[in-house]
Symmetry: C2
């Protein structure tokens, strides 16, 4: 197959006619598919349902220290859950707060408290003229939504296959006291699926922030969400690296079981220095008496330890791998050699990032929508939903069934082709 | 028994010697009891444990609309739970948001969002010079803690057996635009156990706030927490009354199953106008994708309807009634006629409020503590923990066993006697 850029005007016009006919036919098919969000499929949720058999009316509900886990108390979670997350995140339990069902809420609450009460005795951000956050792009739309919601200025930081441009990160963080934080999904980035290199993590740990209340938001959402048991992404431990670098309080690391057990009925944890844990516990004490300890215990009993979690995640991988590969194979088969798009094959996480020709992402997503396939809106992976080159599309292959996915991919590649031909024809005018 | 105020100096001294000897003996007994918090006992928690048998690995997890309740989504809760809470709170489901495990968190979040983003398009409270809240006293310490945490000025409003002094409430709310809210536990007030009269509720509904973003915080924490099935407190419906009075958006009503099923593993709900629900959902969408729907469904399946909840609450009442009566009988038997304290017999809720002679509450609580009985710190039921007359003590009789309660009460009444004698002797000097 010839690259589109090498086609003549006549060839392009002929191709457009053919593609448009295919597209019009597809539009009539009444397709209704959703590849917009990183949702597990019901078969994945079934993997965890036996967890619900473990605590029942015959259980003792007594944790260590003989505490009745059904009652009030333990703001930072049951000791058993702290140990499980400490093992998972490779730190000691005094670095762990086990919370409710959402790491997004933990992050939102951290930002909210920084706004209203400040971090480490520094001025609350809402009292400052100007607060800035760095946003490696493409990134997680819900991160950017939080900072936008609070009027925090967001600065895009480009990423390559090793992670964010650390020269730029250092330039901002080390010299601008208004830069208070940076969003990261360091392992299997959302959406590109890359893993931050050791050098990148070390440079993060060695930052010398101009702002004493600067924090790295390290959303380790896919810490054990590998697709290939024999080829796992490896991420340096931010806890250890920050401690080694003399910056023990500089990070808030997040994780959750939303995509391990149940989205909405999982358990999320904050991993940070013991000093930050103390500060957070104190500030959290106005908000709640404690999170759902019964659900925490259910998770502990089900997994027992991290080996149990890893074995469980292999079952998820067995379900997800064919879905990712179906998309990747379709992209390769249909778009390989055409030079109208690029993508990276991820080793884990929940997304495939696809880059169109410049200025084509919105058009592709619009074409998909009109043909009944909902993609994440183009631009969502950038601050202010503004992807300046309009190239970035996030593909979420986890929720549809294999058959649906095949159909959705066919629609997608057709839309990419059509939009690309349109672009070349327009530029030839 | 003669009232202490009528005792001569010699009689008081003789009494003090005797009481002090009893107290010193008690102190040696190594008692360790806690009557400080409104925690259910484990026997109460056992009542709800069968709920945990209802969802297990064989369940379908399909709600109405065929939604998989284990997955992401439904920010305002599953339809089934909204219906249950709507029936309980006597409103339509469009007035209901079913959230996580804590009504305290809902209230904290409402205040936080009012601080950072404002209510109904009005200026965020954090941008205002001065924000005031009215606090009927004695009241719930965690309410006052939230407003204090945000630097909101708290104004105490005295209560009698009908509720807050509504002349004063109207004077503040209708004339001072800085008054943005009022905290209430309208049924079985914490700690006095009174129920707001119909006239008080109607005057609340008919307020004409100077501030367009004024809200009544109506923490209906004990909505079905009656001690006597045949003699229940009756509270007018704030939803209906506010709608009738043309103030449909003026209230946020809260309720939860923390003391129906499990504290920490229950379900909490916000009841407010459909317009407020829309506003809250929008602002909440930055914080979370949704709450624990599996736990919501567990509650729906267990109770089925409000009749099921009421039958369940009668079992709680059977456990709690003897505890309340043990305390009340001890107070009556040991302190009746002495005129050194007063209390109201509540028909529900979780507390008994005890008023000492002026200036004695701190001393009583201190004496109790030294004898091994932990009471809620004196003053806690007032804004800034400052009870100007130092008379208010909150007794929480629910958590200790009957035997422990008997022992704790004996310590308490002895401490009341001792502190009262000390007061009269000091004033006689």
């Amino acid at each position: 197959m010839k690259a589109y850029k090498d086609l003549s005007r006549e060839e392009l016009q002929e191709l457009q006619t053919k593609l448009q006919a295919e597209y019009d036919k597809l539009k009539q098919a009444g397709i209704k598919l959703d590849m917009s969000r990183g949702k597990p499929g019901s078969d994945q949720l079934d993997l965890s349902s036996p967890m619900l058999d473990l605590l029942n009316s015959t259980s003792s509900f007594r944790g260590v220290n003989d505490l009745d886990i059904r009652n009030y108390g333990l703001l930072d979670g049951i000791a058993e859950a702290k140990e499980l997350f400490a093992e998972l995140m490779e730190c000691t339990p005094d670095h762990v707060m086990v919370c409710g069902n959402s790491s997004l809420s933990i992050m939102y609450d951290l930002i909210t408290r920084a706004m209203t009460h400040g971090i480490g005795g520094n001025t609350p951000w809402c009292k400052l003229e100007h607060v800035k956050f760095l946003c490696p792009v493409p990134g997680y739309d819900r991160h950017f939504a939080i900072t936008e919601h609070f009027g925090i200025e967001m600065i895009s930081i480009p990423m390559d296959e090793n992670g964010p441009d650390m020269d730029l990160v250092e330039q901002y963080v080390n010299h601008d006291p208004m830069v208070k934080g940076i969003w990261n999904v360091p392992k299997y980035t959302n959406p590109a699926g890359i893993v931050y290199s050791d050098e990148v993590v070390r440079r993060f740990a060695r930052l010398k922030p101009a702002a004493p209340d600067f924090r790295i938001f390290w959303d380790n959402a896919y810490v054990i969400h590998d697709l290939y048991p024999d080829n796992k992404g490896k991420l340096l431990n931010i806890v250890e690296e920050c401690e080694k670098a003399g910056n023990p309080d500089m990070y808030y690391e997040l994780c959750s079981t939303s995509k391990v057990t149940f989205p909405g009925s999982g358990v999320a944890a904050l991993i940070t220095s013991p000093a930050n844990v103390e500060e957070t516990k104190k500030l959290m004490s106005w908000q709640t008496i404690g999170y759902d300890k019964v659900n925490q215990m259910r998770h502990v009993l089900y997994f027992k330890n991290v080996a149990g979690m890893r074995a469980h995640m292999e079952k998820h991988a067995d379900i997800l791998r064919p879905k990712f590969e179906a998309v990747l194979n379709c992209l390769e088969k249909e778009l390989g050699g055409l030079e109208i798009g690029s993508w990276i094959k991820p080793l884990g996480g929940y997304f495939i990032a696809f880059d169109t020709l410049e200025g084509c992402a919105k058009r592709v997503v619009g074409l998909c929508k009109d043909a009944g396939v909902i993609m994440t809106p183009a631009g969502s992976t950038y601050p202010y939903k503004n992807d300046p080159s309009d190239t970035s599309i996030r593909i979420a292959p986890t929720y549809p069934t294999a058959d649906e996915l095949k159909q959705a991919c066919e629609v997608f590649v057709l839309c990419v082709k059509l939009a690309s031909v349109e672009k070349y024809l327009a530029s030839a005018n």
